[in-house]
Amino acid sequence: MKKINMPLLIGSIILIFIFGMCLYPEYFSEADPYGRERTQYVYENGNSTLIIPPIPPNDEYPLGTDHRGRDLKSLIIYGSKLTIFSSLTVAIIRLIIALPLSIAAAYKVKFTNGFINFFNTMFSAFPLIIAVIVLSKIALFQDIFEDATYVNIFLLSALGWSRLAHMLKAKIDEILIQDFIEGEIAIGKNKLEITVQNILPHLIPSMIVLFCLETAMVLLSLSQLGVFGLLLSGGYESPSGEIRVPIEFDWSSMLSLSKYFYRGDYSYLAIYPAIAFALSIIGFNTLGEGLKIEFEKENSRVITLIRAIPSFLSPFRFIHEIKNYKNYKKSLLYKAGFYGLVLMIIFYPKYESSYGFNENNALKIAEELTDDRFQGRLTGFQDEDYNPSQYIAGKLKEYGVKAYEGDYILENVIQEVFNIKYAELSMIDTRTSSEKQLKFREDYLITSSFNYDGMLDVEVIETDRKAWREIIIEPDYYREKALVIDARTMRNYDFTSLNGYINNFVKPKAVIYIEQWEPKEERYKNDIINKYLEDTVTISLSSEAGDELLRMGKCKLRISVNTEKMNDVIGRSVMAYIPGTDKTRKNDFVIIGSNLDGIGYDLDEKYPSAGRASSAAISLEIARTMTQSGIKPDRDIIFVFWDGNMTDDRGSKSFFYKYLINSNYNIFYIDLMNLGYKDSDKLMIDNSKVFPKSKEEQDFIKLLKKNAKRNDLDLVYGTLYSPAAIDFTSSDSQPLLIDSFISDEIAFTPKDTIEKIDTHRLKQVGQMLLDTLIDSFAGGSNK
């Protein structure tokens, strides 16, 4: 009976499984690794339970979640790619370094043997992982490689090749003492010829074996590095986060995060990634040993197969066989099949959706929404009789999309909206009486709605907490001053406290915050509105202008602000829906939200907010296509166009409290932020608020990725902020946010014009969303 090479068999099975996981993680995990459980109360059978991640293994999460609520199983599966490919890269680089050196050492080239031995001894005595930890922190490597992954790959390769070189040298020594080498020398071959023609071909089997074993060694080092907190992957979610969180996933980083939880009931956080490491190390080691057994056999089929590969792929051989086709019929048949398969894969027809998204319609709507007649779509400042809400409602009616709960328009009262009509700020040096006028929107921004006109003495507030006591002791002194606060170096906590002191005890005429932004940098005004200060002119000063103000010392400020304020204005959100067909799903909703309003204008400077307009246009066009194509989703798909979503009394809040608050609904909210920019070939998604256990929502994300690829769009992950998402973040509603990758550079600035939008991008994004909605909730886009 023929003996089975068990190590080879087991190693191959394990590695096929692991490489499958690396290349197609979506087939191994239901959840996307970015989805998270959050700290929340869950109501079940009348009882409420507080859930705080990390959640230990249970039915929903077989391997539990990490401290951020991410499914550990998904993290391990998605993390395999970076871990395995990094270790393979390190092993390849080590082989590339070790091979010439070991050949030179075997030929007794001066110092090479000593160099290898010294390196080997050096990094046996100085543990490699400590060297990598220390050197990876040096700025030079970070500046050269930029990404932590490359720094670690470089250091692991550059410092860890000597052991491999040592073993390769031993193998080459064995080859060099063979009789045939003497023969080659006798016929006059030089060292290079012997190396290329004799040593390398005989060394290949050993190199393959050693490569497998070296990869296992690298994986072992990566596991050890992880324990010491070294992150393999690059990018961190928050620079001031409590624990550094990598954006990409890898097993080492998972071990590094779990070091905070080794003790207590959370040891599973270390055990499961370590098991993943163990499995892959076993895979590479057993494959290496299995291959070694196979190569040592006299009539090894594996060796024959390996040797046949170059000949099989050789184009010269192929041409030769075609010329003598009579002798090579069988071989030609195999090759024709192989090349046919390759060509079929290359030229496989591209997927075409059965439902076309009309990008021209979408662009037309976006153009109309950004038109001057809607006055920048600023909430509260629009025409009573003809406004964007009525325009969208009219379109929905025209397309035959049903009104939600009998009405297209949802009105809500917004307590206050304001618009800066006029602003002036000058710095007056009291010693020289010189005056410097600063430019509104370039050097400073007004962030409150308080009107003021006058001259104030400047009083710089120290960031030291002891200095703040003086403010409380002598509030009258500070009340008539312009208080200057250098917010650049302050922590959020201190910033909030100081604002509290000023607002409660002083209520000064003006507060100037020096912030970390450069002049002329366009700023999103709602970003900096300070809710803590009432009846005070609040100004955000650029870093440069702030430095100039601080240099002046005791000086005066001439401040003149005139704002247009409106109270109790009506916000008008638009809502329509396509009813679901499955009656068992009457409590399940998909809500597609986009923003109807722009962010208005200051003075005469308009912010057309074309990105928002095109998101609304995409949503509208999807509603039209689905309705007019007769698509019947299994659950209600609601299209909502929010108004006033940058205010406290936003449309989304009103919608949630009116229709969804007291019912046991399952809501999947998709927020379309700023889409359709022609310069953005990437979309950013934030699915961190989608639970990993929610199968349908996770399937939607998988399909979204698939359809993005079909439409040549790259999806990247990031943290996005949308006020509507706050309203739809609860135990039974999960928001998914979608934005253009470059929206930070364009959105909320005067650059956000319709010229930035193009039909190609609208088609890509619109088609991707339309197909994903149909694939997920209406049986599939391929009829």
Binding site: M122, A125, I130, I138, G290
Partner: protein
């Protein structure tokens, strides 16, 4: 005379290696974290003068040669820190080596095919799989086990820390497991080699019992191979000590090293790493001496 010259040359080269190791180790820790190169006017300019790094490195090197270890950033005398942590690490490593040797030799004997070639590939699996288990996993499993026992009010093993014997049990076991597997592998190969020897076949032919063949014929010769293989596991023991001490919060040399690295105390870290390196050299030398002694006694017996 030639032998003497060779010995002197060998000693000289070892001392040179030790000095080079010490200097390079100190140099690595002397590079400031902010060190980088910038291109100014088309030229590469370093953000920190290289001669300053070399000077700093030289100062530490000289103070080390003078055995003036100085104080850590926290103001503690480094020789005290090194002495106490060295004692603990030495206890941990020596205990685990003894345990690993005993466990490894017995496992190796049971793993070896004792001349039977039928299940060779399965035996390979038995020896390869255990050495593929990362030390992190072993330590984490042990900790979980100790937590489980503690929950059941059994406090035989302490999860982390130091102070009592119960605190040392788990780190010693965790540290001995991987070297034990390596020793088992070496033993298994050595035993298999010996079973192929003519004198074993002769003994088998004479009808000796398998126990007698194993202990009198095979092990007596295999032990040389086992001891010779020991230096190759020195680096594994050292790197495992790092993980085990760190995960069990065992206050040995490596925990001390990591604490100083975290504090950014480059000087103290450099001195500690030199001590860890010296530990490696001592351990390696010790294994070589044991190997030489075993070799010599074997030869004497043969004569």
């Amino acid at each position: 005379m030639i032998t003497h010259r060779n010995i002197i040359r060998k000693i000289f080269s070892r001392v040179l290696v030790l000095f080079a190791f010490t200097y390079i180790s100190i140099f690595i820790f002397s590079i400031p974290q902010g060190y980088s190169w910038k291109i100014i006017d088309g030229r590469f300019v370093s953000t920190y003068p290289l001669y300053m790094i070399v000077k700093r490195c030289n100062n530490i090197f000289i103070s080390l040669l003078e055995l003036n270890l100085g104080h850590s950033m926290m103001g503690k005398a480094l020789n005290e820190i090194l002495f106490t942590s060295f004692k603990r690490t030495a206890l941990l490593i020596s205990s685990s080596i003894v345990l690993a040797f005993v466990l490894g030799v017995f496992k190796g004997i049971s793993d070896s095919n004792k001349g039977n070639k039928n299940c060779a590939s399965t035996k390979v699996l038995i020896s390869v799989i255990p050495i593929s288990i990362p030390d992190v996993l072993i330590a984490a499993i042990m900790q979980s086990f100790a937590i489980w026992l503690n929950k059941k009010d059994i406090y035989m093993f302490r999860v982390a820390g130091t102070g009592t014997l119960a605190h040392s049990f788990l780190p010693i076991i965790a540290l001995s497991i991987l070297p034990a597997f390596y020793i088992a592998r070496i033993t298994s190969l050595a035993v298999n080699d010996c079973y192929k020897k003519a004198y074993v076949l002769t003994a088998l032919g004479k009808g000796c019992s398998s126990a007698r063949i194993l202990w009198n014929h095979v092990m007596r010769n295999a032990i040389r191979g086992i001891v010779e293989g020991l230096p190759s596991i020195t680096s594994i023991i050292i790197s495992n000590t790092l993980i085990v001490e760190y995960m069990f919060s065992y206050p040995g040399l490596t925990t001390s090293l990591m604490n100083h690295i975290t504090m950014g105390d480059g000087r103290s870290s450099a001195i500690i790493i030199v001590f860890i390196g010296s530990f490696y050299f001592i351990l390696n030398g010790l294994f070589h001496v044991v190997s030489a002694v075993v070799n010599k006694s074997n030869r004497r017996e043969a004569i």
